[in-house]
């Protein structure tokens, strides 16, 4: 796959409304930066190739390369990707009490990785009201502060990029499939830098089918006469629930999920990955029991962490039912199919989408370059 540069990224993805704010392109250089949940082009960069372009999960994903680099295996086009084990899992008896999304598997695994010294720090996603805020954590207490899902897409990868640039190594990270794809692409050292080191000690993905646009959600709430800044948290209960729960200071408001789904980022429609294919471990809800999680173990080091977490009482695992696996596989395959259809529709499979764009610089003054 040809690696292009910031011009193509800005033109096709950022300005093309395909960006899902994963943050993979941001804070790698002085030009593209994340601020709040947005990605900003601070100054013009005219490089023809860039890590930003290579990192972006929307410009195209080189699955063969990712598979070979991360798993040392050829890519086989399976809906759940490479995995060693599948479990149902939840927090162990030693996991501190917390406000977890489902079984608390993610938080438990991060705490275990920190305690075991598998990682020194982890990049998670906390929040400020309903605004997601990427955070660097080192303690169990901080992990708990980041528990539960934030439904607004967050540039968590930008925080990781900053840490990696500052020289942090042995990092952990929890993120959605787009964030994890961006991270995986960066871990292939796309521009073959001589000083490259993989900063990751453990990569934990969470399942995802969509995320919301901050701007969309804010204006929707305003239309419902809810001050977005006064919202303390938002929850989407598992089906058959039909309403999202908006917790305010004094009351909890219910808003129809049908409305909320209209606020999904357009870029999510081209996302082919539901289970975070390019990770050590991936965690999602377990359809039949919201108190548990689905846990996909993809790598050896992921497996080792799960084992140690179980040993130390931070995790409980059980075999997963074949029905669950079948349902998950079907859901993942469907997401992939829908995404490819959407990519086709938007011309993203067209070879021209992988060619450099010619844009005239907008603002030049006669006599100046």
């Amino acid at each position: 796959m040809q690696i292009l540069g910031p011009t193509e990224l800005s033109h096709r993805i950022l300005n093309g409304d395909l960006c899902t704010s994963c943050g993979a392109c941001a804070d790698l250089c002085p030009y593209l930066k994340s601020h709040g949940v947005k990605i900003a082009n601070v100054f013009a960069c005219d490089r023809e190739t860039g890590r930003c372009y290579a990192a972006c999960p929307k410009t195209g994903v080189d699955e063969t390369l990712l598979s070979e680099t991360l798993f040392a295996l050829p890519w086989k086009d399976a809906p759940l990707g490479h995995y060693r084990r599948l479990y149902m899992a939840k927090q162990g008896p030693k996991t501190p009490k917390g406000n977890y999304q489902n079984g608390g598997t993610v938080s438990s695994l991060v705490i275990a990785a920190l305690e075991q010294g598998v990682i020194d720090k982890a990049v998670l996603t906390g929040s400020d009201g309903i605004m997601p805020r990427p955070r660097m954590v080192t303690t169990a207490g901080q992990v708990l502060e980041c528990a539960t899902s934030k439904y607004i897409a967050a540039p968590t990868m930008a925080r990781l990029n900053r840490a990696a640039t500052e020289g942090d190594r042995n990092l952990g990270m929890v993120g959605t499939p787009c964030q994890m794809t961006g991270l995986a692409s960066l871990r292939t050292n796309p521009l073959a830098r001589s000083d490259f080191e993989d900063p990751m000690g453990m990569v934990i993905g969470i399942f995802c089918t969509w995320a919301l646009s901050a701007q969309g959600l804010f204006s929707y709430l305003e239309r419902q006469e809810i001050d977005p800044l006064a919202v303390r948290s938002m929850d989407i209960p598992p089906p058959p629930a039909e309403n999202a729960l908006i917790a305010l200071e004094e009351e909890v408001k219910e808003l129809p999920l049908d409305d909320i789904r209209k606020l999904v980022l357009p870029g999510c429609s081209v996302c082919p990955d539901m289970t975070a294919l390019w990770t050590d471990l991936s965690v999602g809800a377990l359809e039949e029991n919201p108190e548990w999680n689905t846990l996909i173990v993809r790598t050896e080091r992921g497996e080792a962490l799960v084992d140690r977490a179980v040993e130390t009482g931070l995790l409980e695992i059980q075999p997963i039912s074949q029905t669950s696996v079948d349902n998950l596989t079907l859901a993942a395959a469907n997401k992939r199919k829908r995404a490819l259809a959407a990519r086709e529709r938007l011309g993203m499979l067209d070879p021209a989408f992988q060619k450099p764009v010619e844009v005239q610089p907008k603002q030049t003054i006669m006599g100046f370059k």
């Binding site: 250089c29 900003a40 100054f43 005219d46 490089r47 640039t165 521009l191 830098r193 003054i365 100046f368």
Partner: protein, 646 residues
Amino acid sequence: MSPLTRGNPGETHLMMGNEAIVRGALEAGISVAAGYPGTPSSEIIETLAKISDDIYTEWSVNEKVALEVAAAASFAGLRSLAVMKQPGVNVAADFLMHLALSGVRGGMVIVAADDPGALSSINEGETRLYAKLMEIPMLEPGNFQEAREMTCWAFELSETLNMPVLLRTVTRLSHASGRVTLGKLPIPDRKAFFRFDGDMLDPMEGPIMTPPVGIKHQSQQKKLQQAAKLFEESPFNTYEGPESPELLIITTSICDLYSKEVVALLGVKDRVGVLKLGTTWPLPAQPVLSRLATTRNVLFVEEVQPFIEEAVKVLAAGSQLDLSSLTFYGKYSRHIPMAGEMNPERVTAALSTILRLESGPVSPVSKNYPGTSLPPIPPREISFCPGCPHRASFFSINTVLQLDNRQGFTCGDIGCYSMGMLPGGFFTLKTLHSMGSGSGLASGFGKLDKFGMDQPVVAVCGDSTFFHSAMPPLVNAIHNRSAFTLVILDNSGTAMTGFQPHPGLPVDTKGNQAPPIDIERVCRAMGATTRTCDPFDLKATQKQLLEFINGKEENQGGVKVLILKQACALSPKKRHTQSFEVAVDPDRCIGEACGCNRICTRVFACPGLIWDAENNRATINDVLCAGCGVCASVCPQNAIQRKEFP
């Protein structure tokens, strides 16, 4: 002792046009001079402040106030001078309109310095039309000697007519030098006293005001007629050439020199005559009409507006001359360009066409000095100086507006920082007009949320511009609940025009102690939320600015003022001093491999930092680097290292 204050009449000295004006004013015995800095006028007040203790000189807060300060002296019977560049006349115009009508007492001269070609301006305004609009007499010196003589005579004229007199100079006269023979310096003996108890209509003893307008306007017209009479006899209007020239050039100001030079170079002295007018408004009828009667072709050579061209055509139309036998060439016929400065080349081109000269246009420069053509100078970007705080400020403003990502923009204002519209200022400025109008526009933009505008609005202004004319729009914005952030680029002086002091500084025009006015306290008293940052601290500046434009502050919306305080790199107190020893660590700067795409030299682009293409890394130019250390915070690799000077 400066030749300007030497009392040796008859001595000849090399003087700049502005110095010749100063000498003329001294010979007229002025007591008060006030102005606002602006190229090409600034040296006049500056020089007066330096050389004479007998005169009260003042850098006023703006040109209108300067005119008022000078008028007060005149009302009290003293001779006074008001000095400004052309846009300043626009600022002062309101008062001038009234002053022209009310009349003055002591001789009062307004020196207006125009800048044809906009060499140091952002417009190409023309002051001469004001003489007509304000109905006051105007003189235009055509050389250095005249600059002295006319200035001196202008005061007499003003007292004869009880009217302010306009003296119009241009960059090429004000800033060039020539020989000037000195006149006599008087012994100052005037005492200031304002008489006001005479008759309403007594110009010398009554109150000074414009009503009763009907009567005053009539007397103003009479005075102008009187001026026109005096101008008919004036030695400042001269003619050089054959008695009946094939072509008559009518010109004024510095264009006289160009015209005569070209006539001589083309060898057409026997065919072309040059009528130079020095007293250009009201137009002296007789000298012009009698010359028109001797020719069939007339060429007007003047800069900017066809001012004389129109006046002469009007005069001719009302005369006994047979117009059918006269052909007029000038701006209307497109023989002389409507915009830009005049120069010998342009006069040559016009003459060659009109006289159908065989050789076609010749360049007088190359003809004059054969073999002196130099290789072309490589084009260089106009940019801020090394260590200039504006570069750092614009870097931060641009960064923050981009981060905020709502297509926020910055309204520009007048000063060195106007260059913020260029690549060197990262194209930060999106509007640029007159002084103070950045804040006025921002005040207006800040009210458009009602119509769906959610772009953050920023305005910039310098410290001197703040006092000059940004305060009223700021008051306006606060009172009307507009919302924007004003960034005051406080570099402790009127840097662009040469560090004249302004009311924010603890010194006055002569360098004596004066009470400073604290910009931040003024803004706070007005009701703005204020903060001060050091623009060299990029991180703190950007954090504060983000807070301001993101409206996260305690009082959301409203007017925020961020003062970015750091002295100009060329300011007398900073020049030749360095805060840091700065060097690029060759091991850390990995060049193209970094991925930074040379942000230091390609984007931030301080002239003190250069790209060493051979070694593929940035390097400090020790001669140019001012040691501000800012580039160290721009490099993402921490390759630029700064060490504090002990």
